[in-house]
Each structure stands twice: as C-alpha cells, then as structure tokens.
C-alpha cells in the first residue's frame, strides 16, 4: 500500500485520491471541482512519482515541474508532496561578475554552492538579509552558461536593487532561493511560432528562453519585441543582433515609445508593434515579461489575437 508524505507526516492512502486522503485527516488542501479540471487542488511532488493521469490538463510548464492535481492522483508508490506555495529551499552563491548592461541595469553572474537545477526564464529570490528578498529571472541557460545570469534594474528606493547597486561585488557570498516559475521553454512542437514581448529588464527571462529554444533546435519563428522609452533602455543589443544574424528564424525588434525614430528601432509601444506585425496568433506560443500593466494587457490582447490560454506564459516583473 502506498504512503503519502506531507509536512513530515505519513498518511495511508488506500484506494482514495491524495486529496481525499489528506483532507479526511484534517490537512487543509484547497479544492473545488474534485474532478481534475479546475486546478484548485494543485500540489507538487518532491519525492517519488505520480501517475501521468494526475497531470492531465496542466500546462506543460507546470507538469515539467512535477505539479499534479491531488483530486485525480491515485499514487502507485510512495510519494512526498507539498502545496504549491511551500517555501523554496535556500542556498549560497558566490558573485563572479558585476557589470553595467546599461545605465539602469546590472548584469550579475553567480556560482551556486551546490547543484542547482533550473530552466532558463524561471526566477530565484535574491536575499539582501534574512527577510528581505526580491525575485529575479534567470537569463542564463543551464546547458550554455556555467553561471547564473541575472539582470537587476535599479528601482527608486528599492531595498534589494539599491543594495545590489551600492555594495554587491565580485567574491561576495550571498543567499538565493531555488528556481521557480512557469515562464520557460518546453521542448517539443518545434514548428510552433513563438512571440516574445518584454519591457525593461523583462528581457532577462526571454534572453534565456530564446537561447534555450534555439539550442533545442526550435524551427518555428522566434520573434522578440523589446520595449523602452529611448535607446538608452536597451541592452544585450549586440548579442541579440548577432543571434538574429546566425539564426534566420529569430527576429529581434527593439521598440522606442518616446522621442524620435532611429534606424534599427521601431517607433511606438512594444505591444502595438508586436500585434501589428503579427495580427493572427492562432497556434502561437507567447511569452510576456516586464511592466505589470503591459503584461496584463498583452495577456488579453494576445489571447484575443488567437493564442490559446494554454500557450501564454507571463511574468509580471
């Protein structure tokens, strides 16, 4: 008989689902439809494996992170499970480089103190001290980059970014969390066209995702639109232009929302330009990162333009 471990306790599941098993014994797992559809009872397996059936209907990025639906999970062997909001593990990392990417954004490279699994585009927490942390997306790709690469934007009176800009230096040991988030590239469906829209340092996860997709041999279009007020806001421009030269399916469009148009830059709001160039997004995969207003509007607009809700991935920061 298989056991379910949750919160350090072991429970006998018998013939019942993990949801029924845990709630019957007083564990508060949220639920609604109890039929494997509404996804309210989503949990994550951290030890052992759950049947594939328990992942039916989940976004591929969630399934890839071992999320499952407790109401449709009848474990066939022992598993340890946690609720999605369960805290992420922490570890130490050493700063190996700090460089300005533009006037407002620092590129930080970190070497984790132990094996660190992540997907390009996921985020980690960067701790200034025990209780003060902020999320930063990973622009690095595990198979390409030895170190973790973050893009930290200077936020006015930001506690963590202020500390990064004023005191972080090569050789420092800092605390980070394990990686999390479902904004990343899942291999497969390699003919699918992909639209990526970012403002500011929202470019970080997309820079990782694009290189990850190209490395996986993605064949469909990869169209990146990066928005900024003026040319000072862009970074990694040369790297991206070079990628576009060597990969005919990758297209890079920096967009300037204010001031005069310049050669090599599209004038206008990044979302408007991306949608004007790609009015029909049926069958596309979409990644959106950056300013929360842009991301929320873009989610709806790309959905209206035909992208399926299942294929839209977003990080609002």
């Amino acid at each position: 008989m298989s056991k379910v471990i949750y919160g350090g306790q072991s429970y006998e599941c018998g013939e019942s689902s993990i949801l029924d098993c845990l709630t019957a014994q007083g564990v508060p797992v949220p639920s609604s439809c109890r039929s494997g559809v509404c996804q309210t009872c989503m949990m994550r397996v951290v030890e052992g494996e759950v049947p594939e059936k328990a992942k039916a209907g989940l976004k591929p990025t969630l399934a890839a992170q071992n999320y499952f639906l407790a109401c449709s999970c009848y474990p066939e062997n022992d598993v340890e499970v946690v609720l999605p909001e369960a805290g992420l593990g922490k570890l130490e990392a050493r700063v190996t480089s700090v460089e300005y990417l533009n006037g407002d954004i620092l590129g930080i490279r970190l070497k984790p103190s132990r094996l660190f699994e992540y997907k390009a585009g996921q985020f980690i927490n960067l701790f200034k001290d025990e209780i003060t942390a902020r999320c930063y997306s990973l622009a690095s790709v595990p198979a390409l980059d030895e170190e973790l690469f973050l893009n930290v934007r200077k936020v006015p009176s930001g506690l963590v970014s202020g500390w990064v800009f004023s005191s972080l230096k090569v050789g420092d040991a800092i605390t980070i969390s394990e990686a999390s988030g479902d904004c990343f590239y899942v291999p497969g469906n390699s003919e699918q066209d992909i639209l990526l829209i970012a403002t500011g340092s929202g470019l970080a996860p997309l820079y990782g995702i694009i290189r990850d997709a190209l490395l996986s041999g993605h064949q469909g279009k990869l169209s990146l639109y990066h928005g900024s007020y003026n040319t000072d806001g862009f970074y990694l421009v040369e790297e991206l232009r070079r990628l576009a030269q060597t990969h005919p399916n990758f297209n890079y469009v920096p967009c300037i929302s204010e001031g005069e148009a310049k050669a090599g830059y599209a004038p206008g709001m990044v979302l408007d330009i991306a949608l004007a160039d790609n009015p029909d997004l049926s069958g596309w995969r979409v990644f959106l990162c950056g300013n929360p207003n842009m991301v929320n509007t873009a989610k709806q607009q790309t959905f209206f333009a035909g992208a399926s809700m299942r294929d839209i991935f977003a990080d609002p920061f």
């Binding site: 609604s32 439809c33 039929s35 559809v37 509404c38 709806q300 209206f304």
Partner: protein, 120 residues
Amino acid sequence: MSLYSEIGGEGAVNAAVDIFYRKVLKDDRIKRFFEGVDMNKQAAKQKAFLTMAFGGPHNYSGADMRKGHAHLVARGLNDTHFDAVMEHLGATLTELKVPGNLIAQAAAIAESTRKDVLGK
C-alpha cells in the same frame, strides 16, 4: 451514450474553452466581473463550467455554486448577465458545429444552475 461523450468529452472542452472565454471577456455586458482576475486560473474555471454543462464529471453542489458566486452577486450579478453567458455557451457550441439537440441539452444543464449562481 452520455451527453459528455456525444459532445466529444475532454477534447470538446479543450476546443471550446478558448472560444468561450474570448467571447465572455469581449462582452461589455459582463466583462467587468472578470477584470483583475488571473486569466489562467479563470480559464481553468471556465473549463470546469463547460465540463459540467457538457454533462461531464463534476462534484459541484448547489451550495458550491452559491458560495463561488456570492462575491459577484454582491457586485450586481443578475439574470441579464446569466443570459449573456448562456448566449456565449450556445454560440461557442454552434461555432464548433455541435448538433442542435446536444446544444439544447448542455444549455438545460447550465440553466439548472441559475438560481444557485444568482443566489436566489
């Protein structure tokens, strides 16, 4: 054969959810009820609703329906809004070329939740 398998089961729900949710979000009569809601979570709920309307497996009770919509009733959810959703359900199934008699059955299931959804 059950209504759910006649309509096409999970495949039909997956095909319907984007079409249905787009119609709902574009409708000026009801879109305010969906503003500020996480779109992914909402899409999952739309799937649960469609599964139920298609006669598929669900465990929602009348009490669940009441509880789940009470905050919307407090914001003015009424029969006209329910009618709008019914309209979109029918239009979605028509667009997917589901036969009329099956659409009528799905509509009847959805209609049966009206009192609970509106907290009457």
